[in-house]
Assembly symmetry: D2
Homo-oligomer: 337 residues x 4
């Protein structure tokens, strides 16, 4: 199992944006813009380009009108234009499907990019160039809803967690936290490039599927406010789990499902991981605080349901079953029987 | 059914204190003082007298060492010394057990009092005189744990909600909110004398039993902090339900169980009910936001478990089953099947 | 000096609403509705009728288009219709100007009322009947700006604090806190009918003038948010003082000036004063925490500027100078030299 | 003026710790440990080694008993042991005083290090090796006072801001924000290596002196709580400025002075600066929101007073006057006349 960065890996800066196919763009706009507080940076007839109010690049979420609710791709920003070339070579060498998109061929606002199906079966884009956007950091007057500040991370369902760990290690990601069994068998891992707990995390389960997008607010009262607004409109069925405190990452969380069932985590509080010798913190799968620090039960749908992902031609990817099933470990915070 | 104040009812000001029997005073002290932040106003070999930091009278909670975990009594303060006499006559006229306690005979710090077993079977004290206590309102330096500011209310389990409603109406209580069926059959009611949502509330169920004590903090982050401290000490099993937002009362809540299983609600946010024509707000039992505004499931133990109550001689009161079972109404927020 | 309720005083429930004359109704709407988050219950060509989202009666603030920025009147709700008659007799007996307004003659939404010029020179209304309004307590979806929940109190400038104290004592108000000199000479007092720190407070200074309206939010982050929105729009000149913690009342505060210079305090946190023997808490005028618990200097304009008040015919009342000048006491938190 | 990283500069990771000389170690402990919530990692007869609860290395603040209150040194962590050598060569090449400290010769817990007097006259240490410390991130039970999570930055007074900017640019620091005159003359700059607004900032003024240490909490209510505790103990004179919102950095702040007059900023909220093309945001010196986003006046002592710094032999460094005086620019938020 590879656990070191590959010398030819592109230099990934951070998780940058996700593109979701949604079946009703108006309903999606209500959820992501009106309720969550994303800012509409750009729109055309079939898509919305959204960002949080702390973000200085063109978008961190693209909602595309589609026939089927799915993930088009997740996308990482790399340090230099040359890193896009390195990404292309890296995945070609792995024998994975690769598609190069010159500026104007891909997502609006993004320059030269490469899209691949990675070894885990996920559609992933790497790019360097992206349009700048007006600074909204202090535009308190336009904040509303959950007051989302920025994209924080992707959480993906994959059946083989050690393989996912090894792949992202080869891309130079650090590992902040894991959930492990007594024999150190990996149930889940949180991995980062930017100096936070994660840019990507793996939930054991049938995959490739997108478990959720994690988006950040500044303080916990903004998370409570989001839940309150859903309740006020009698739309509380969009709330799937929480609010609660994660054991892993220590973040205060709220999981919502959008009108297509795409899951989003509103996430606040985090810690610095930027030191070069930052150590992985390991949770035992039997510690019932790992998923909820207060021992509250995990909702079954949270373990079982996820968003299908598309291939480079826009067709749904086949899904494989998980090797290890964390939800089968009967402890307090899961409460699944 | 009586729904008007009785002309001879004592003038109740507010819910004043509860006295609980606990089997391990040291464990109870850890929970209520170290973790919840109650201030120890006085203690003797067998009891702790506690108050919140906003409270200006001697105690709002007495923990008495006992063989069996139980409620000794709940206690209301009345407006004048004469109202103690009125309370005695009121309950004698109802043919209920009554015990008069002159100053020094009853609870430390409390003057002349009368204790009764009310028509619902609960041990209830009425008093006027109570020792003053040093003002701690601005002693931010001694706040810790959940930073409890004051007692807010008693919540009691009783099998016959309309009877409970009628009894408290006869005592001059207003009704802020109810849970009702389609035919207005009462599942629960929230009643007040002070200008908040409640001093007492009724949960349908086998009774007489104490469902919980409600204690108030100023802001929601203090509720989150309380939960975080329990998690930090791996004592998360004391967390039974929440944090969450109640539909009824609109309060942000957290339910904890003390080492004896006594339930306490940490409660914040509330609204003014002091206008003389304040109208009752009625929730339908099928609105899944009534118990949790975010639609999260109620925990079964929260509906089923409660504290036994003692009679005036310290013996456990017999318990009757409920007439209507709210937890049997299968809606989203209950999730009980 | 009278310090007891007069036996014929009307039974005041609470501070109910203020009516302000504003010179530009559009600018006032921006400030009070868009920025502070008041809800527009009703409007006609010359007036806006506003309430906070916790309030269940028709309005707590009326903004009337006028030639001159001024206070039309403050208004108290009384317990019964008969208390309106009692108020009329009470002020006629004092030889004060009195005007009876039958339903339809006075403020929209308010029934039978009496307006007086009280012994302190202030235009004050007493009424019982007021229209109910839709419950917005849980309408988190319409909250915005400072998310004002309710009117809390009036603060009035008057040159003779002992006289103001005696007048309000005669009306049955309790006194929660004072600022006093070494010889107990009164510099300021906070008085209440509802079970909070105050419905009315007196600031020593030339009067009669309205110092400010106090309006309440639920939590301190909402106060910070209000200030942030003013900064975001480069309208920070509306911020006069704060945010800060008051010594008196322990409230977290922010003072703003509306486009006409009317001052409003956004106010959160408070304590219960409903016990019949609630004791007055006395601050020494030399304790630099009395006005700001953190010792920050008071802004000079906050001491010196205030809103003129009108008589019953709409003409400005003459103003008398103060007998004692608190701002002349040179201590840390004043910093006025 | 150099504005590019020098090819031989050491690779700085982040601001790591400061060492202050304090005249009364007990008084300093009260301030930094009891009041601010720093954790005592280690102590010996003459020093306290402190860290915030999010920090995973041995200390971020050392308090050393000394005859004179002063800054011993600020310290940066570098990426590799070789970067310590690079730092030594870098400053020797500049002709600056340099002192190499082998493990055991320098600060407890820190390995091989180099200390220099940088071109701005500041004593600065560079090290790579530092002891790990137990993870306290989720020890909510030991949090108290201001609940400081970590060191955030150093703010230094220096008379020549362009020189300071050029020096830190040569060390590879990015610049997040500046305050500039109409001709782009630099009044202040905020510079970073970790992905936050800053690791170091420059305040124009007589120097070299330490303006303040910036330490971070997670949420704004923790900042308010810190101020409240100082007020509660009648120690409000330790509060110099704030709480407030900075225009620059958008952080919510509170400035305190320790018993020796050393200034500390409690700081919360920040934004991500990790993208390689992150642009500098420029404030005009006449925008009265730059220092306080709410337009509140800056306190004169905040501009004028600061901590002297020592040379490598522990003698106070001479101080030079500023070239440009921001406090002389008469705008709203300064209010200095």
């Amino acid at each position: 199992m590879t656990t070191h960065p590959h010398p030819d890996a592109p230099d990934v800066i951070r998780s940058a944006y996700a593109q979701l196919a949604v079946t009703d763009l108006g309903a999606a706009r209500w959820f992501w813009v009106d309720m969550l507080g994303f800012y509409v940076q750009y729109e055309d007839s079939g898509s919305l380009y959204l960002r949080g109010t702390d973000e200085l690049t063109h978008h961190s979420l693209v909602l595309r009108k589609g026939e089927v609710a799915a993930l088009d791709h997740i996308s990482y920003r790399v340090r230099t234009p040359e890193d896009v070339d390195k990404a292309e070579k890296f995945f070609r060498r792995l024998g994975r499907p690769v598609k190069r998109l010159r500026k104007g061929e891909g997502t609006h606002g993004v320059g030269d990019a490469v899209r691949v199906i990675d070894p885990l079966g996920f559609p992933v884009e790497f790019f360097h160039e992206i349009e700048r956007a007006e600074r909204l950091i202090q535009r308190y007057d336009i904040r509303h809803g959950a007051e989302i500040a920025r994209l924080d991370h992707f959480n993906i369902c994959t059946p083989d967690i050690p393989a996912a760990y090894a792949h992202y290690k080869s891309l130079g990601f650090g590992c902040s936290e894991t959930i492990e069994g007594d024999e150190h068998e990996l149930y889940a891992a949180w991995m980062y490039r930017k100096q936070t707990v994660h840019d990507v995390a793996f939930t054991g389960g049938a995959g490739p599927r997108l478990h959720h997008l994690g988006v950040a607010t500044h303080e916990s009262h903004q998370v409570l406010r989001a839940a309150d607004i859903f309740g006020a409109l009698h739309k509380e069925h969009h709330i799937e789990r929480g609010p609660g405190r994660h054991g892993v990452s220590n973040a205060f969380y709220l999981y919502l499902r959008d009108p297509d069932g795409h899951r989003v985590e509103i996430y606040t509080s985090d810690y610095y991981t930027g030191d070069p010798d930052h150590e992985t913190y390991r949770w035992n799968v039997k510690d019932d605080r790992r998923r909820d620090f207060w021992g509250n039960a995990v909702i079954e749908s949270w373990y079982k349901e996820a968003t299908p992902v598309l291939d480079l031609d826009g067709r749904p990817q086949p899904v494989s079953d998980a090797l290890l099933d964390e939800s089968a470990v009967q402890v307090g915070a899961d409460g699944l029987g």
